[in-house]
């Protein structure tokens, strides 16, 4: 059975080489953690602390580091939802989702239902650039979840949206995560978002280049809809 082994991440050193007159920069140092199957890990920290770099390393997009990432047997069921939707503008929404699957994959049949569930049932044949950013992000979510991934990596997928749109996408994500349980590693700089979504939080700090806090988030499903409860948990964790 897939998804029973934890993900093991060990980054001894990650350096951005010197470019032009900018010196080489140590981005990550001795970052080591495991992620339990079906958990929702949030990695947070201010801009420039190496969150996205860490995620790219886990995804296998960045191999230029010292260390080792072991995704376990689930490594071939990995989806990545990027900071920008990264849809192919010259393919329709439907085609964009379909391309993420092999041509004769049985999951192809589930695309219409998936698009329906993210609220894009009427925009299947639209080109992405004709949709709002919020809708494009919904399409990106659908592309990630259609894989029925064992590992789902998300890099600030809800930035530059207005509050109501971001909130509706967050509840959509929670809904999808409950219907398609998967291990999530979610990067964000938004503390409230981190507390509302995650089951565990890792904090990175700039300068330190490493993990400064590793805490579990103790909220019930009801409390995740309660602003006061989220705020209390946020204060508890970030005061530490």
């Amino acid at each position: 059975m897939n998804g029973t082994a934890p993900i093991r991440v060990l980054v001894d050193r990650k350096i951005f080489p010197a470019v032009g007159d900018r010196d080489a920069q140590l981005v990550l140092k001795d970052v080591s953690f495991e992620v339990a199957p079906r958990s929702f890990l949030v990695i947070t920290g201010p801009s420039g602390c190496g969150k996205s770099t860490l995620l790219n390393i886990i995804a296998g997009l960045d191999n230029n580091y010292e260390g080792k990432v072991d995704l376990g047997p689930a490594s071939d069921r990995l989806a990545f939802i990027f900071q920008t939707p990264r849809l192919l503008p010259w393919r329709t929404v439907y085609e964009n989702i379909a391309l993420a699957l092999p041509d004769s994959d049985p999951r192809q049949a589930k695309i219409p239902a998936m698009l329906e569930s993210v609220g894009l049932g009427h925009s299947m044949n639209a080109y992405p650039e004709r949709l709002s950013l919020g809708m494009q992000r919904r399409a990106a979510l659908a592309r990630g979840f259609i894989l029925e991934p064992e590992i789902l990596l998300m890099d600030e997928p809800f930035v530059s949206l207005d509050d109501p749109t971001a909130a509706s996408l967050r509840s959509l994500l929670t809904e999808l995560w409950h219907t398609h349980p998967t291990t999530v590693i979610f990067v964000t700089h938004d503390r409230t978002e981190a507390i509302q979504l995650g089951t565990r939080i890792l904090r990175l700090a700039p300068g330190k280049a490493s993990v400064v806090q590793d805490a579990s988030i103790n909220l019930t499903e009801e409390q995740r809809h309660d602003r006061a409860a989220i705020l209390a948990e946020q204060n508890r964790i970030f005061a530490a």
Partner: protein
Amino acid sequence: MAPISTRISSTPRLLAAPSGFTASLERLFWMAGSLLALALLWQLIAIYAESRYLPTPLTVFDVLWREGASGDLWKHTSATLVRVAIAFIVSMIIGTSIGLFLGRYRTADKFFDAWLILFLNLPALVTITLCYIWFGLTDAAAITAVALNKIPNVAVNMREGARSLSKDLDEMALVYKFGWWKTLRHVTLPQLAPFFAASARSGLALVWKIVLVVEAFGRSSGVGYRLSIAFQEFDVSTILAYALAFILIVQIIEFTVLQPLQSRVNTWRR
């Protein structure tokens, strides 16, 4: 009372966005009118000049008709078209390959950039004469000469295209395991399509003009050859007749092949 259709068609909304058919009909109307005016002007000047070196449009059409009837027009234009087609395809393929290669490999680009500039600035006349001298007065030499003139243009264009390929989309294709074929077809080529379409359109215009020069220099068939004979006889009517025929053919290719191709690759744009 005005008929209903008139009133509807005079609403601002419809005026602002005429249907595609009406718009192209209107464009055709303007084009035909403007060309007719040019022909009329030409006719007036020719009548006034009364010179055998400036025939009237009617005389030119008469020559065109005779050349068409004798089969000469078809023989020469088809010979030229075959050369244009081969030279066009060869230079698009080679130019695209070179452009993509240089756009992707920075060291190669640094090294070959100077070569590209050299070939870009080499006069057509030089490549043509050298090709004929080195390879003889053959069709292969003629087509090589034309291609050598066009390849640097295509390469420079496609290099820009390759440089502007999105790294973001490449990563997306990698994460979602597109594989090389799906990546090429759905990620890379669509990004290059506008550059390719632009190269093709400017390419056709350049290639057919150079093919005429090549034919005038060292071939015994084709529009260029026919023009060089007409030049020896100072036969202006024939020169104009063939020029008109060829402009017409190139415009037909432009409207029926290249423009639809370009608008097809752009349907997804907002």
